[in-house]
Symmetry: C2
Subunit: 386 residues, 2 copies
């Protein structure tokens, strides 16, 4: 295992009816801003539960944070926070609302001028405005980590930020919310969590026995519950496992002491920025080509994954590794997720070149666990994914 | 999954050479008391590394905390803390030193009179004196949880305490310390961690897919590394897996949302109090009889454990469950750990009755995951373990 430092102070309040516990977590006298997305929380009853939980607080609201939280909209929320002297943020939503809230937590206390610098200069936030979350859509793991990804439509950019000051103080996870999530979002959530694990696992063996097994545990659980939830999202037991798996997939635990990849995310973000394709789907587009292109580097782990997650015990390492890629594609297809760029847009010509140009401009010259995925290799991977 | 609340804010600093990072963690100007055990840290170089790391602090020392940290000795440390106006505690040791330090962290700020009340009345500590740890013996998981067990020789009692104020602020885990651990302690550590997992896992199935797999991951890893470490404790990779597995076995994660047992610990503590048998060994004495006695309640999980940890795929549920108990006993024997009380003492007659009397006096009338293990059943289990 490599050396690591791990600390995750987020308090998780998990289970049926846990939204009721909201008032225990927010200091009396706080000026609370509730942040949410397109308003689905007003249809599924979550909004009412949150308002009831906050009955004794001064509460403001800011709705309309879109998927891929948009910088220009967040700036409006930032103005609101300053104008109304907000002291506590409460994200009620999925990864986009939580990520947007993290940006606001950082920006509200940022003394360095233009808040875009938090993203363009990747400034670590040591202390942010306190915030909690009520998770409505399991997927990104943002409810128990300190990172965020923000989109800026104006420049078609999608950049990451973070820092130890951006862990939610608490996150409320009530698996009952899964019942009202549309099929498309459920499929995205399953894919997103699955790919989060693969980015931290599908590298090369270093003998990290426990970390590998934890990663495989999450993958196995997602594979097991996916068909149950897709058939019946009101199945509380499957919803619980799905929700907890998504959180554990990206709360920092499984990445400790092991090499990580994240090239799929780096490339995928560009497909969202260029075409507006759902984040999870961009990962399903890029991952199979990425693993096929880097086959020699990754085949030992692909074969281990084939054995332990997909029960493929026959054949050579190469055979198992190839089968693992097929199984992964098959899993995405089983969720109704297409895995080729041409399934999403007819205007894919030139995409690889555009992405390479951006990476080169940003100085991203070596992605992946070996930091050796140069722009020409990225170009080939994206073209394989057409 | 059952509802749960989980928060674990301890910062883990893991890896080769991590003791050097000590000074980053303790506030400048702190009056630091280093607590340790029998002095092995002065032979294996850890003491020197710690002193070097704390070169710029006012440092005091209190050594001689024994295995099963003894209350009367801790009271002397408490006097010292008050006299020298200590503001920060640093445990350098294994579970006993860390547990003793947790008691002192609580007692130093306790306003309720006699500090024994922290144990006898099981008072939760919300805020303790700040402390960190340098782990020298992987076993108990105390380095990343908020619980402690304290022994009082005078009354032959061994009682638990805890609370959210008793998480170490940081714990330094350098797997190189494993190289100098005596064989007996290594065997105890492996057994202790293994039993910690079983106490949180060997109950009845509730469909907690991910939690079960995490528990099994730790068990599999311990089984895999045990022979490697016993053969060569300088094997850094195996030592790392052993160390991280011990921490993950009892940092709260795998117990969330699932039923837990802990009857083996409750009974085992009495064997330590009565005969001075090493904690881990008391667990190895009680567990097989406990699982055999409660076979009908536990056989589904025993069979699952047989399949996933021991690769026993043939036979009925009963067959697999019986085989699982045998494999567990065999594992302990492979570590040189005896599993019958009569292997440790000839004076075992009347032990069951003594334990039952104590449990009855304390009002412990229903142990285990079903809270139905009444004193008469405890008596039978202990007698089966003679």
């Amino acid at each position: 295992m490599k050396n690591f430092i791990f600390k995750n102070p987020t308090k998780i309040i998990f289970g049926k009816g846990s939204i009721e516990k909201l008032a225990n977590e927010i200091p009396k006298g706080a000026n609370v801003l509730i942040l949410y997305g397109g308003g689905s929380i007003k249809k599924n009853g979550i909004y009412e539960q949150v308002k009831k939980g906050l009955a004794n607080y001064e509460v403001f609201e800011f709705g309309g944070i879109p998927a891929n939280p948009e910088y220009s909209i967040l700036l409006k929320a930032l103005d609101f926070i300053k104008k109304e002297k907000i002291t506590y943020l409460l994200a009620v939503g999925g990864g986009s609302v939580i990520d947007g809230t993290k940006f606001l937590s950082a920006a509200a206390l940022f003394k360095g001028g233009d808040p875009w610098k938090l993203l363009s200069d990747n400034i670590r936030t040591e202390v942010g405005m306190p915030f909690g979350t009520v998770l409505t859509l399991p997927a990104t793991g943002s409810e128990m980590n300190s990172g965020a990804v923000i989109t800026r439509a104006e420049t078609k950019e999608k950049l990451a930020m973070g820092g130890p000051g951006l862990f939610p103080l608490f996150s409320i996870l009530d698996p009952q919310v899964v019942a009202s999530i549309p099929e498309r979002q459920l499929a995205n959530g399953l894919t997103d969590a699955f790919m989060h694990v693969l980015e931290q696992y599908m590298t090369y063996p270093i003998g990290a026995l426990l970390q590998d097994r934890f990663a495989e545990s999450i993958l196995q659980t997602l594979v097991e519950v996916a068909p149950i939830i897709r058939k019946d999202p009101t199945n509380y037991q499957a919803a619980s496992e799905f929700m907890w798996s998504c959180t554990m997939a990206l709360n920092g635990l499984i990445q400790q002491g092991v090499p990580t990849d994240w090239a799929v995310h780096a490339i995928g973000h560009e497909l969202t920025a260029l075409f507006g394709i759902d984040h999870a789907r961009t990962l399903a587009i890029i991952a199979p080509s990425h693993y096929a292109f880097n086959f020699e580097d990754k085949k030992e782990k692909l074969a281990q994954y084939a054995e332990r997650v997909w029960n493929i015990t026959q054949g050579s390492i190469d055979d198992k590794a190839h089968a693992a890629i097929k199984k992964t594609v098959g899993f995405f297809h089983s969720l109704g997720i297409d895995t080729k760029l041409s399934d999403y847009t007819k205007a894919y010509d030139g995409t690889a070149e555009k992405i390479v140009k951006r990476f080169t401009e940003r100085g991203w010259l070596g992605l992946g666990e070996h930091k050796n995925l140069s722009p020409d290799k990225v170009e080939e991977i994206v073209k394989m994914a057409y």
